[in-house]
């Protein structure tokens, strides 16, 4: 009889535990779904963020695959488009950019030039790889129409060849 009572107590305990476990599982199901849903939402957001720089990453990969580690020589470019000695270039210290690349700026001063020539110079610089892109410019026309002095800042990317 004692053994039977012990068995019954054991079974009752198990049944109680089963009910408690079922209740716990049932009641926590919503919370679990909520946690999974939140994590799925976070993952979607992060995956969206991860794709944000896809174009930039592809560009960088292209530069690296082409071995375009250093921008073109601006002096030579200026001589070819505006004329030798017409441009004064003042390189600025490089600033770190993404993935080992550096951002290089050069201050450009042209005391007197036709704007069309200056535009050709900037366009030629932008056509190189890595491109020299115009970051800022100020021009002061002279009395002669379509010409004057200008100061500009050009920017390019560079990386030490691995």
């Amino acid at each position: 009889m004692k053994a039977e009572r012990a068995w019954m107590a054991g079974a009752a305990g198990l049944a109680l535990a089963a009910v408690a476990a079922s209740l716990h599982m049932g009641l926590s199901a919503g919370r679990h779904r909520e946690i999974l849903g939140r994590k799925a939402g976070d993952l979607a957001r992060i995956e969206q963020m991860a794709n944000r720089w896809a174009r930039e990453d592809a560009y960088r990969a292209r530069l690296e695959s082409l071995g375009a580690w250093q921008p073109a020589d601006l002096d030579a470019l200026a001589a070819r488009t505006i004329g030798a000695g017409a441009v004064r270039l003042s390189p600025r210290p490089a600033v770190p950019a993404a993935d080992g690349w550096q951002r290089r700026e050069v201050a450009v001063e042209i005391p007197q030039a036709a704007y069309a020539e200056a535009v050709r110079f900037f366009a030629a610089a932008a056509d190189t790889l890595p491109a020299w892109r115009l970051k800022e410019i100020e021009l002061r026309p002279s009395a002669e129409a379509g010409s004057g002095s200008l100061t500009a800042v050009l920017e390019a990317l560079e990386k030490k060849q691995p």
Partner: protein, 468 residues
């Protein structure tokens, strides 16, 4: 059915005759033996049945002595079965000729009637039940079930010949070997049981005359009272028992009934085995009364019930373990789903924010990393810009030339534009402003007077609406 018997035997042992019927849960009771108690076959069958009962593979039901069993119809004054169940013992105590505490009592399933609750109770003194058990043992068997004879007979009558209509008054006359039991009711509901402690079949003229006197004196008032109670003009009287097979006897007894009563007489099919079949059927389907409970319970039944109880406990434990297992499985599944999702989230965050990403801060860390990277990748975005500041410069110079503007200063950066000069008219300045707006600049213009050659001076300041 208590103990869960698949088969049951009903045994009637009276007047030197044995009637043995067998029933299963699904099949109708069949007579296995009907004949003398002293025959070899009867002894062999009884021994076999006793062994089956001892093994617990079949129930053996006998009727508790009718002369020691009290059957009463109880009515509780409230229409609640649960409430009524609390007062049955008190109501029965009033009806019994002995204290209810000293009796073994059983109650039929209650039903609601006339605004109250009605149940039929059967009771037998514990001493009488013990004596019955001892008598059975002396006869070579021990029943697992001791049923109330009157209740069993009445129910079997309803099974064999269901009443034609629900409230039809009917009576059953059981001509047993040592007694006569008269049961009367309405439809299937039993209203009362009356016992005549004598048998019409006893030999001897004196005994027969004594019985006939008793019969005539008791039956007239009983049947008349029943007709009055049921407010009926006629009554069906069913005859059963070993005596009902004797047409001469039943004819004699019918003639002794009051002539003024409208009675229709019928004999049940297999009248001698009605009780045995009733006992077998009720024990098999668990519908019957069983006085053999508690200290009177059959050991085999106790063992069987113990086994059933242990099986039920084991089943419950197994079910609980299965449920616990399912819950554990679900918990593991949830944990894996959560871990998998967390792993993907962490990996995605690490791809952006680096190897150290505290749990729960994945989005924050990724956003911070992106803010840092935004600065680092600006030069790449500018390099990718298909138009860039070069196109803006060319566009502004072309606009100025087209509108005949003299530009004395032009400063251009991705974020700001400053332009000074003179124009032939205010309208030309306005058109330039419109064109600059169209190129994505938010422009403020000022016209601080005119030049010496009477041209309109202008100062334009623009801010980029979107960073390139």
């Amino acid at each position: 059915m208590a103990g869960g018997y698949k088969a049951a035997y009903g045994l009637e042992l009276a007047g030197g005759r044995v009637v043995l019927a067998r029933a299963t849960r699904r099949s109708a009771p069949q007579v296995v033996y009907a004949g003398g108690a002293d025959s070899e076959e009867a002894r062999r069958l009884l021994a076999a049945v006793a062994r089956e009962a001892e093994r617990g593979s079949a129930a053996l039901a006998a009727a508790a002595p009718a002369e020691q069993t009290v059957i009463r119809r109880l009515q509780a004054p409230f229409a609640s079965v649960r409430k009524a169940a609390r007062v049955w013992a008190s109501l029965l105590d009033v009806e019994l000729p002995f204290p209810v505490e000293g009796a073994v009592c059983a109650y039929s399933s209650p039903r609601l009637a006339d605004g109250g609750t009605v149940a039929v109770a059967a009771a037998i003194r514990q001493g009488d039940l013990a004596a019955f058990r001892d008598a059975c043992r002396a006869a070579g068997f021990e029943p697992t079930h001791a049923d109330a004879e009157g209740l069993a007979l009445w129910e079997q009558l309803a099974v064999d010949t269901p009443p034609a209509r629900a409230g039809q008054p009917r009576a059953l006359v059981w001509l047993g070997a040592g007694h006569v039991l008269v049961l009367r009711g309405r439809g299937t509901a039993l209203l009362a049981a009356h016992l005549l402690r004598a048998s019409p079949g006893e030999n001897g003229t004196d005994a027969q005359e004594a019985f006939d006197r008793l019969w005539g004196a008791r039956m007239g008032p009983i049947l008349a009272a029943h007709l009055a109670e049921t407010e009926s003009a006629e009554l069906d009287v069913w005859w059963a028992g070993s005596g009902a097979e004797d047409d001469e006897l039943t004819g004699r007894l019918r003639r002794l009934l009051p002539a003024g009563l409208a009675l229709r007489h019928e004999t049940v099919r297999q009248p001698a085995s009605l009780l045995a079949r009733a006992l077998a059927r009720r024990a098999a389907n668990g519908a019957g009364v069983n006085f053999c409970t508690g200290e009177f319970a059959h050991p085999a039944r106790l063992r069987k019930e113990g086994r059933a109880r242990r099986a039920a406990v084991a089943g419950a434990a197994a079910a609980a373990l299965a449920v616990l297992g399912l819950n554990a499985g679900e918990a593991v599944l949830r944990q894996r789903r959560d871990a998998g999702q967390q792993e993907r989230l962490t990996a995605a965050a690490r791809a952006i924010a680096g190897p150290v990403v505290p749990r729960g801060q994945e989005v924050l860390m990724a956003e911070r990393a992106l803010a840092r990277r935004d600065e680092e990748t600006q030069a790449f975005r500018r390099a990718l810009d298909p138009e860039g500041l070069e196109a803006q410069l060319v566009g502004v110079l072309e606009d100025a030339a087209a509108l005949d503007l003299d530009v004395s200063r032009l400063a251009l950066s991705p974020l700001a534009l400053a332009m000074e000069g003179s124009a032939a008219s205010i309208q030309a300045i306005e058109r330039l402003t419109e064109r600059l707006e169209a190129r994505g600049w938010a422009v403020q213009s000022d016209t601080p007077g005119r030049t010496s050659d009477d041209r309109q001076r202008f100062i334009l300041k623009g801010a980029a609406r979107h960073e390139g």
